[in-house]
Symmetry: C2
Subunit: 188 residues, 2 copies
DNA sequence: TTGATTATTTGACGAATGTCAAAGGATTCT
DNA sequence: AGAATCCTTTGACATTCGTCAAATAATCAA
């Protein structure tokens, strides 16, 4: 499982055997049962998480209500950006929507080792660049696409989401009310 | 001017004299008159731009209309994320709203040198981490704040914007119509 | 299975916002 | 100054969307 994960990282930037060995010490695998948290509220996010199997939802609380930020499915990465970089307690919660196998890459394995190992620095740069592009795309989709289009896009790219989480979570992810989403759905 | 810029970079991550000398070759200063472009449409974004003096607007076209993405004022950084990382032609335009002094850091100075110089790799990581946090904050503000709150926040953080650009640009930045912004303004 | 809980849909209504149109200000250029 | 252009405000109206409330459907546990 860990070799596969290293191979996945290698796609971002080539990693020598020595670097892979170095990284191994910062990699751990955890099984998270449905309903449990991959990242708890107020916990400092010390890892980049990789959903090897299963499915997770990222959300936080806004005015007492859950607001879904993202769904992380098969082989997606996820982490709390602010907490990870600043070492502050996370407002973001990451919850396993179903039993999940999660591979964790400790931040020291990236942020510390990157200071001395250029390969790891490259890995970090590539991973963060990727996150940055994703974040950018997300902003654009929110700004320029209607809720309806974004729903259709979600259907297109992550069809399994619709089976796995309640409508209300998808609605909060799209930034619209549950009723509106229900009505959008009725017309498709 | 360039020493000051290096000092600014040094705030992200400490840079030795040798590294600073190395970076210098990738730094250039350009004067951009009002109305001219810092980054043209369809041009590949080969630099991270730093607005030393003056003021710029980032925007692109959506259905034939200009949509403002961001304002870059005093000592702000800006670049087209997608174009910069992928080397694709930029959809984003960066226009000088007033005569501006722009310091450009060539992407080779970051992406290439970071492969061999760990200090530059750290700089890259810190800069991209910062961009990532900004991007994240922007997304949250769009999703969870009303247009009115975002306008007030803009007034709070970049009050000079209101003097410098027409209302329509601010409205498109906020994602609302010009008329709505005018009405919001009438009530403040 | 049955009842309890949770999830989804539907209807009615009001608030917020977009669009179209027009008027009034402000700025720029000659 | 005067004309032309650009910018901003205002009004009227239609549309979208959120909220509240209730009904229906689906899921789960005893």
């Amino acid at each position: 499982m860990i070799p596969q994960f290293l191979k996945r990282l290698d796609e971002f930037s080539t990693l020598s055997d020595a670097t892979q060995a170095q990284l191994q010490e910062y990699i751990s695998v955890v099984e998270v049962p449905k309903g449990e948290f991959i990242l708890k509220h107020q916990e400092v996010c010390r890892y980049i998480f990789y959903i090897e199997a299963g499915f997770a939802r990222q959300y936080y609380y806004k005015d007492g209500k859950e607001v879904t930020e993202w769904f992380a499915g098969n082989r997606d990465f996820c982490f709390s950006i602010t907490s990870y970089f600043d070492g502050t307690p996370s407002n973001l919660l990451i919850e396993a929507v179903e039993d999940s196998t999660v591979i964790r890459l400790h931040r020291d394995g990236i942020l510390q080792l990157s200071k001395t190992n250029p390969e790891i620095a490259q890995l970090a740069i590539q991973m963060f660049a990727r996150s940055l592009k994703f974040s950018q795309l997300r902003t654009e989709s929110i700004l320029f696409q209607s809720a309806r289009d974004r729903y259709l896009h979600l259907l297109d790219t992550k069809p399994y989401v619709i089976q796995k989480v309640p409508l209300a979570h998808i609605a909060s992810f799209l930034g619209i009310s549950q009723e509106t989403l229900s009505r959008i759905r009725a017309k498709v």
